[in-house]
Amino acid sequence: MGGKFGYALRETLQNLRRNLVLTGASMLTVAVSLSLVGAAFLLGYGVDNVTQRWQGGIEFEIFLNENITPEQQARIQRELDASPDVARSQFVSQAEQYELFKVLFAEQEEYIESVTADVLPPSFRVEPSIADADVISALGDRFKGEPGVKDVVFAEETVRTLLRVSGITQSVIFAVAAVLLFAAALLIFNTIRTAIFARRREIEVMKLVGATNWFIRVPFMLEGLLQGLAGASVAFAIVYLVRNAAQDAIRNVPLFDGFVVVTSQVVTTGALTLVLGAAIGAVGAGVAVTKFLDV
């Protein structure tokens, strides 16, 4: 410890200061691109949460009475299995409903506290094998009168649209972010190249007196890594603030009232952002060092 590590750190900080403008530019690019990545992820999470019931072609959900008898439940199950119009059905227990409820109302603890699993209805989620809306609604309605069935709820057209649009939006954001991330890597590459050029005399001496290649490399790679991490931290802050603002804004809009991104999902996104930023920085710097140092 001491000498070696101290040297690397000192050199890194000195370089960052020397190339303030370039460093700032690459940091900002990392920040913008990673904000987009983060936003895309949060959008994905939000849509996931609000449309959880309706993913994978689920068209309607048969809610059962809380006190349904096993015989009644088995009868409905048999009927679903036997129907040629049903491609797939899935039973959702009270415990699973409660897990879903906890996600949807994660930010409203008083709801979660006042609800327990046994007041929530279990259900069957049904994926029909046909696309005809009339047939689907006829199929769903058949179950409405069955003993033990509380209600049948159909996916709304808006939910389907939301799923489709969000998918496209996410792809577009990811594409833009990928381009920006590439630009960020190039900018970091250029910053490091400048730093290497500014220090070529020192590097020459270091090689002559027998410094190892890694000893010469590490400060530059550390510099790239720090730039990436700093950009990523800014991105994380932006994403966090935007998420809070957006959530407040849409809280009372119908359809979006289940559109929440819980804190654990924000943290996951943040961690991903930091890892991506660090990786971009280290890779950009690593390429620059290998290319221009010829160590």
Partner: protein
Amino acid sequence: MIKLDNVSKFYKSDVVALRGASVDIRKGEFVFLVGPSGSGKSTFIRLLNKEEVPDEGRIWVAGKDIAQLSPWKVPFLRRNIGCIFQDFKLLPTRTVYENVAFALEVIGRPRHVIQSQVPAILELVGLGKKFKNLPHELSGGEQQRVSIARAFVNRPLILLADEPTGNLDPTTSVGIMRLLDRINRTGTTVVMATHDRSIVDTMRRRVVELDRGTIVRDQTRGVYA
């Protein structure tokens, strides 16, 4: 200590820098490489610390065949070889002390070693009082002393000197040569490329003369020509 066996080096395939050179230098020897500009003296020196790789022949340094040396081991070879140059290669923004300490820092020597060895070596080269100065505040001779201190602070087995007096006046050169002689007497093998006739004639050490890449003379206790 150093052995070249039929070594050749070509630049751009037709420019000959060194052709069929075979030399055997024992531990503790002091060898002058003489010859006109472009005769291959610098190439000879650069081959020894693997800044250049020979196109033909084999080179042993400190008992190792350096052609077989994997790239990651080259730094460790160089820790056994001190280098000084005509243009000193000092870092202009660092003080005398820092320039010398730098050579120890970058090979990972602990701080207490640096703190004891740097002042000692600066004392040895006669710069004990100028350790806080920047290189541009020193005369040429003093700058060369700093670079010698940097090359020797790690007590290398071999000291390579490429025209170390090329930028210095005769009186200053004599001082530098005294210092190199002193270092040689500690057992360090010194190989020095030069075309300073009076130095070679005064010192009367082994002389290897190169002409257009070929060794034309190898004489113990020789003179310039």
